[in-house]
């Protein structure tokens, strides 16, 4: 198709970068927000604005809650297509789990239940509940955790659950990201020579390209490893080899593993009670300390609940390293005796844990967390400047030929860059303004998000008409101003509706909420700076020359 390698790489970079770039903007931006997802949850759910808590007592706090849990109505609804015949009324419980990190004030619990008459015998339905670990009191289900239940899943699935379509789109975008990085390196002949090159005073096409190259190259390992690790995390969705072609091999392994480890694969069918899990947790912590790695409980799970084959697994939280959890210790459910202590991981498992842990970041390291945000936002700048370069390069030509390509790309670029900010800030404003006891409050917040984004898109399309004359669209500046105003409004509303203004949150050192407010204000400041620069550029060279002659600028 192409006369040489470099041309094929350039073509791939341009067209796959352009089309998948819109998806990648969303993935990178909400991925960056997800670094502080739990902190955003605190901002959105004022009742949860207290200090992070360790895993509470299972016997006193968790067991009564677990016993009460059932599959969620949504899970049952989604499972309708996965059963033969009518949906059952009761769902026998199979497993319980609780996971916490050093950043969680509230605790998320989940329960796995059998799905009667399921087409796939291994299928199950899940129940979830969020509790205050100090008391066991449940948080209302429709108080949406905007960070961990909205921004984070948006980042990896675009909230398109039907047949995992969103996961596939994001996966393809991740492949496109790696393609863009490799092809970008091939295209960028002077990659070392121009490593620090950024010429903001030149015309838009040149400075956009400089910034695109800069942000792409300096964080290249970051961008590549995040795309690759993201794909590996969902590898089972993209290449479900061991549940299809190699399923017999998988089953064989499961049986061997159950025999080797002593952890029963199936339930016995004989009812039994659960011994004190607190005693098991204490024993696990004693064993970790004896190995010189004392730590907190990260993950607690009970398999085959209520059965003689029940076993309890206690995993250490990965707070002090990259791997998520580890050092699993397993106890017999009915007696509390030790079944197995997980051996040290193999080299391959270590590499896999490192890759996934690097992406999912449950470690305690605030500097690295902020550096991740820097990397993610650099990725956003790389993609956005890519759009700008594409449009600038073609808009004159397209205007002359009366082709609307550049105009549409610009409109979608505005939608994906500033429009996305407007949608995000609108959702936060809605979160503060909607009545606390509004039923389906979380759903309303989501409608606000999508609605605001659609409006931003409509505005962008309407206001890109000047592109037809190869001028800059005013949509960029207008949306920058709007985003800035919305961000400030969100901070003010937080103050008005919760009393937690910045002086109070910084003064008491409650950084989750202070951090979100400060980030909103910083975003507003950046948006204002951008809007003013855009106005100067849009007004054209004559105004800039006049400004340059004025005394203040001459002395600058």
């Amino acid at each position: 198709m192409f006369p040489n390698f470099r041309l094929s790489m350039a073509w791939l970079h341009t067209w796959f970068g352009l089309v998948l770039g819109f998806v990648l903007m969303v993935v990178f931006f909400f991925g960056s927000l997800s670094v502080f997802d739990r902190e955003i949850d605190r901002w959105a759910i004022p009742q949860s604005r207290f200090e992070p808590q360790p895993m509470p007592s299972f016997d006193r706090i968790l067991l009564p809650v677990f016993k009460d849990m059932k599959p969620t109505p949504e899970a049952i609804e989604q499972a309708r297509s996965r059963v033969d015949g009518p949906m059952a009324e009761t769902f026998p419980v199979q497993r319980w789990g609780a996971y916490t990190t050093h950043r969680d004030p509230v605790l998320g619990l989940f329960s796995g239940h059998e799905l009667p008459h399921a087409k796939n015998k291994d299928d199950s339905v899940f129940g979830t509940r969020t509790i205050d670990p100090r008391t066991g009191a449940a948080l209302p289900d429709d108080h949406l955790k905007i960070g961990s239940q909205f921004f984070y899943p948006l980042h990896y699935s675009l909230h398109l659950e039907w047949k995992n379509l969103g996961y596939w789109i994001v996966g393809f975008a991740a492949l496109a990201m790696m393609v863009a990085l490799v092809s970008g390196v091939v295209m960028h002949r002077k990659i070392f020579r121009e490593l620090f090159t950024f010429r903001p005073k030149k015309h838009t096409q040149r400075s956009a390209l400089d910034l695109h190259n800069l942000t792409g190259v300096v964080a290249l390992p970051f961008h590549f490893i995040f795309a690759l690790s993201g794909l590996v995390i969902f590898g089972g969705i993209y290449f479900p080899v061991t549940h299809t072609q190699l399923e017999p091999l998988y089953e064989l392994h499961e049986k061997h593993e159950a025999q080797e480890t002593g952890l029963p694969h199936e339930k016995a069918g004989v009812p039994a009670t659960l011994a004190s899990v607190d005693a098991m947790v204490a024993e696990a912590q004693r064993r970790w300390a004896a190995k010189g790695m004392a730590g907190d409980v990260g993950f607690l799970a009970v398999q085959h609940v209520g059965d003689a084959n029940a076993y309890v697994s206690v995993y250490r939280a990965g707070t002090d390293r990259v791997t998520l959890t580890g050092e699993g210790i397993h106890f017999k459910g009915s007696t509390g005796e030790l079944i197995r202590e997980d051996p040290p991981v193999t080299v391959v498992a270590g590499i896999n844990n490192f890759l996934t842990g690097l992406h999912l970041q449950h470690f305690r390291h605030w500097l690295l967390r902020w550096l991740y945000v820097l990397g993610g936002l650099s990725g956003c700048v790389c993609i956005a400047t890519g759009f700008l370069f594409f449009v600038e390069k073609r808009k004159r030509q397209h205007a002359k030929q009366a082709v609307s390509g550049a105009r549409w790309v610009d409109a979608f670029a505005v939608t994906t860059v500033t429009g996305m900010l407007i949608a995000t800030f609108s959702m936060l404003i809605g979160n503060r303004l909607l009545p606390t006891d509004l039923p389906a409050r979380g759903t309303m917040e989501q409608y606000l998000f999508w609605g605001a984004w659609v409006l931003a898109c409509a505005h962008a399309i309407w206001r890109t008409a000047p592109m037809g004359e190869a001028r800059m669209s005013p949509a960029w500046a207008e949306q920058c101003w709007t985003a800035a105003a919305l961000a400030v409004a969100a901070v003010l509303l937080n103050w008005v509706t919760t009393g937690d203004h910045l002086l109070r949150t910084i003064g008491s050192g409650y950084w989750p909420v202070a951090g979100v407010d400060l980030a909103l204000l910083a975003a507003a400041a950046l948006a204002v700076v951008a809007a003013r620069r855009l106005r100067r550029r849009a007004l054209g060279p004559s105004v800039q020359a006049k400004a340059a002659r004025s005394p203040e600028v001459a002395n600058a």
Binding site: R193, L195, F196, T197, F198, R199, P200, L214, T215, V218, A219, P221, F222, R321, V322, F354, L358, F363, H365, L367, L368, L371, Y372, L374, G375, S378
Partner: protein, 114 residues
């Protein structure tokens, strides 16, 4: 030494090392020191200095966290430092002049021609 101080040292080391690496290139040398390019010896020296200092920043990171976390921190601080140096060269290149003030020759800045 408290961790935050060590991180600050690592950051400064990365900034300095990358600045030297940048200044070993003619185009950036000219932005900071004027149109006369640096002598060949200086270019080589700056490259070596830059590389050594950047590598030492990794050693500092490793003294704070264990291997896997430290290398991630170092890579990302490197990225942030590269961005900072690029922006400094774009808007305020003279800020980097003190880093090469000890280099004699190759300096034709207007102030000296007064």
């Amino acid at each position: 030494m408290p961790d935050s101080l060590l991180y600050a040292v690592a950051l400064v080391a990365n900034l300095t090392g990358l600045a030297w690496l940048a200044l070993s290139m003619d185009v950036h040398w000219e932005q900071v020191r004027g149109p006369v390019p640096a002598p060949r010896r200086t270019v080589v020296l700056l490259r070596w200095l830059g590389a050594v200092v950047v590598a030492s920043s990794l050693a500092v990171c490793l003294s704070v966290d264990h291997g896997s976390m430290a290398s991630l921190v170092w890579f990302m601080v490197l990225a942030g430092s590269a961005l900072t140096i690029a922006f400094t060269l774009a808007w305020k290149p003279r800020l980097l002049a003190p880093l090469v003030a000890w280099v004699r020759g190759g300096d034709a800045s207007p102030a000296r021609q007064g």
